[in-house]
């Protein structure tokens, strides 16, 4: 926007940047994503001056080209050219924070330093000569306490002033040989750029920063020319150019701080150190971790308080579902619409299609808010980094992060918050991998499917449920190992050098805001997806062609002129069921489509229209699978029978009989592959919506869904084909194909690979 002042907020992670941003902008925030990547972007208008837009850059340690966050921040600073940079610096961690400052001041953009947590420095008895530091850095420093709000206003005003004056500040210098090379590079490559930008480009060229070399489009001749200068400096300093620059920055900071930073140096353990001695203790760490995870799970998704558990989340969700979703939205709207004399199809669309979908989404919200609240707390107090520290050893083997544990655990309750919990993972590769694999965990809604299969064909054996979890974990592990070796994932490096921030009491403002942001983004994104898809599925199950007439099947079946006895006989014949079991739904589009689609599942053993239709409706919500079996196996709870149990108790016999019939006696195996496919294939639409939200890319969302369905299909195929070797009736072609697939999977698992060192993201 013309004439508007734009200020970028930059700083290390854990420096109080979020707190400062919230204090500066209040409620005037816009949260989104940086284009094409999963990094969150926040912008807001300053409270002190609504004309000023503050952009919150990702928390970074450096402006290297190697991590996604750093590239995002760099591109913004270089291409969007904000009028000033407000650099928040954690005074308790001065050396490493100033390392970023030395890079920001080279950009040719005015910098103001907000020196945070000075109160803690003073409390520790240390002393920082702020005046002298400001002189040496060449930029204004404002002492602040982001948490208490002290000095925040002054920092904002100073940044605005700096933006208006537009003056760039003097820069520090490197050692002789480096400066010599830099002067040469500036002369031959960038002397036609604005003066204040030259130094940054020269330094980047000296570092052989590929992204900058590319952007400048230097001729081969020039490249060769500056390469000589760089090589000469490298020879003299006995190190590579990039390391020389990094090293010299720290040397410069060390020398500068000598007279400025006086430490009392008592060497006493701080409170944070004492906490950490216990929390990440060799023996106590794992039990404490288990307790924390149990609490997170039990409070948000565990047993409801009403049922003697401790979960506030489940209790609120049950309440919302029963009252808001079922009673008010669905039944209430139906009553109102019917009293208005609305057409039956309209009542169906609004009450059973749209509002039932909305209700399903809203029902999850309380559980999610409780969960997100706890995740935000863990993050804010510093424990989240310790989780990565504790679990890294296990998870990195599968190309995942130690923090992937939380999404997986949450995923056993519900995949949606599981996917969303992946947001705490820093590395984009790990995050994408986690998003793709989290929904392999059997979620709460898949339990009835397991119950149905175990009950109908395996005599209620608990081993089926155990195997479901085993299959879920195995799918995650196998996918992790295979995917990390593929081109799209092997591209990005995963250096695991992580700061373990000091523990501190959570800042409630940040925690509540973070909780709400995540909750709201769920309602928005998952909401739209599930509403649209509920309408589609409602349409597919409610409409169809009955004896040449198109319309709502329920109403058409009431017309005896259309549904003649001959017609019922024809349907019964087509569906291979007795005449008295013919239902309106047998003529729905879904049933018609399921018949040809079931071909896809034939090689998996359950190529019949009923399990196919159930699988398709499972996309709306996995609970629908069993409910649908109820309808298809003609269980009618209006007939004076009691309501169908969650696990389909009453239809077990019919399911078993049918599975045995269409699989030629391999009912158990077919039921098992049906369960495998339904556990691993694409999750429900709401979870797909969450995947789309977190991936922030259509391409990646489709890739994730296609991978999940493909993996599920292959897994079920292998089990069905090889399984029949033991149950008899194997198919030679199928067996050969299954063995080939198995061989491919094994090859993917064991082929060697090398982790790349380059970042592929632009």
């Amino acid at each position: 926007m013309e004439g508007q002042i734009r200020i970028a907020l930059a700083g290390n992670p854990n420096s109080g940047k979020t707190t400062l941003f919230n204090k500066l902008t209040g409620a005037n925030q816009f949260v989104g994503n940086w284009p094409g990547v999963t990094v969150e972007k926040k912008e807001g208008k300053l409270i002190v001056d609504k004309e000023v837009v503050l952009t919150d850059l990702p928390g970074i340690y450096s402006l290297s080209p190697y991590t996604l966050e750093e590239v995002v921040a760099r591109n913004y600073l270089m291409e969007e050219k904000p009028d000033a940079i407000l650099n928040i610096v954690d005074a308790t961690n001065l050396e490493r924070n100033l390392y970023l400052t030395t890079q920001l001041t080279e950009l040719g953009i005015p910098v103001v330093v907000a020196l945070n947590m000075m109160d803690l420095v003073k409390k520790a008895g240390d002393h920082i000569n702020v005046k002298e530091l400001s002189r040496q850095l060449g930029c204004k420093i404002v002492e602040i306490s982001a948490l208490k709000g002290d000095g925040v206003r002054e920092a904002a005003e100073s940044a605005i002033e700096a933006a208006k004056s537009g003056k760039t500040i003097p820069q520090h210098s490197f050692s002789g040989p480096v400066e010599h090379a830099l002067a040469h590079i500036e002369e031959v490559t960038v002397h036609d750029l604005p003066e204040e930008k030259q130094r940054w480009y020269a330094i980047k060229l000296f570092e052989r920063d590929e992204k900058v070399v590319e952007a400048l489009k230097l001729s081969a001749e020039t490249k060769a020319h500056i390469e000589k200068d760089i090589a000469a400096a490298e020879q003299e300093m006995d190190d590579d150019a990039e390391s020389i620059i990094t090293n010299e920055r720290y040397v410069y900071i060390g020398q500068m701080l000598k007279g400025i930073y006086k430490k009392k140096g008592t060497g006493k353990l701080s409170v944070s150190d004492k906490i950490d001695r216990i929390v990440t203790n060799r023996w106590l760490a794992l039990p404490i971790f288990a307790v924390v995870m149990f609490l997170v799970y039990a409070l948000s998704m565990g047993k409801s308080i009403a049922d003697g558990g401790i979960s506030i989340g489940t209790w609120l969700t049950d309440l919302t579902n029963d009252v808001l979703g079922g009673a008010w939205l669905q039944d209430g709207s139906r009553a109102i619409l019917e009293s208005w004399g609305a057409a039956p199809w309209l009542v169906g669309l609004i009450s059973d299609g749209i509002l039932a979908g909305v209700g399903a989404v809203l029902g999850f919200v309380p559980q999610m808010l409780v969960l997100f609240l706890m995740l935000c707390l863990l993050e804010d107090c510093g424990y989240m980094a310790r989780i990565a520290f504790i679990m890294d050893r296990i998870f990195r083997r599968f190309g995942l992060s130690g923090k992937s544990f939380i999404p997986m655990l949450v995923g056993t309750g519900c995949g949606i918050p599981g996917v969303m919990a992946s947001r705490t993972i820093e590395n984009e590769r790990d995050r994408r991998m986690t998003i793709m694999t989290t929904t392999f965990m059997p979620c709460g809604a898949k339990m009835p499917i397991i119950g149905l299969i175990a009950g109908a064909l395996f005599g209620g054996s608990t081993w089926i449920a155990v195997s479901a979890y085993f299959i879920g974990v195995a799918a995650i592990v196998l996918s992790g190992i295979m995917l990390k070796k593929t081109k799209i994932f092997a591209g990005d490096p995963a250096p695991f050098v992580m700061e373990l921030p000091a523990y501190h009491l959570p800042a409630w403002g940040n925690v509540l805001r973070g909780t709400w942001e995540r909750g709201w983004s769920f309602i928005k994104r998952a909401g739209t997806v599930i509403v649209v898809s509920s309408i589609v599925i409602w349409f597919l199950t409610s409409f169809g062609v009955v004896n040449g007439h198109f319309g709502m099947v329920e109403s058409l079946y009431e017309d005896e002129e259309i549904v003649t006895n001959e017609y019922v006989a024809a349907v019964a014949d087509r569906m291979d069921i007795p005449e008295e079991e013919v239902e309106p739904m047998d003529d729905s589009i879904l049933a018609r489509v399921a018949q040809p689609v079931s071909v896809v599942f034939r090689p998996l053993g359950f190529g019949d229209w009923k399990p196919t239709a159930a699988t398709v409706t499972g996309l709306v919500a996995k609970e629908e699978v069993v409910a649908n079996f109820g309808i298809m196996y003609a269980y009618d709870d209006n007939d004076g029978e009691e309501e169908l149990e969650e696990n389909g108790d009453q239809i077990w016999d019919r399911v078993a009989e049918d599975f045995n019939a269409f699989s030629n006696g391999h009912g158990k195996l077919a039921a098992f592959t049906f369960m495998i496919f339904n556990l691993l294939c694409a999750p429900c639409f709401a979870a797909i919506g969450a995947i789309k939200r977190e991936m922030n890319s259509r391409k990646w969302t489709w890739f994730a869904i296609a991978y999940q369905c493909g993996f599920a299909w292959v897994a079920a195929f292998i089990v069905w084909q090889i399984g029949r070797v033991f149950t008899g009736g194997m198919s030679i072609v199928g067996l050969i194909l299954a063995l080939l697939m198995l061989g491919f999977v094994l090859w993917m698992l064991f082929r060697p690979y090398k982790e790349s060192q380059k970042l592929t993201v632009q």
Binding site: S62, S64, T246, Y250, I390, F496, V497, L500
Partner: protein, 73 residues
């Protein structure tokens, strides 16, 4: 060559040189582990990897495989 990987928990060492190249090396240096800096090895993660070190006044977690690239006195 002695590396950070070989240092016992509770010891403080001085960094002599960083080996390796590219992203991992740059990241380690960005975090403040550079030539001449003192590193205190605080503890090992419960499962034996990574290690927690104190450098330039803050706590850092680093994998043993990466610690091997850091030559110390």
């Amino acid at each position: 060559m002695k590396t950070l990987r070989d240092v016992k928990v509770g010891d403080t060492v001085k960094v002599v040189k960083l080996h390796g190249e590219g992203a991992v090396k740059r990241r380690i240096m960005d975090m403040g582990i550079t030539k001449g800096v003192e590193v205190f090895v605080r503890k090992l993660a419960p499962l034996g990897d990574p290690v927690e070190v104190n450098v330039r006044g803050y706590e850092l977690s680093i994998r043993k495989a990466d610690a091997q690239m850091i030559e110390v006195e």
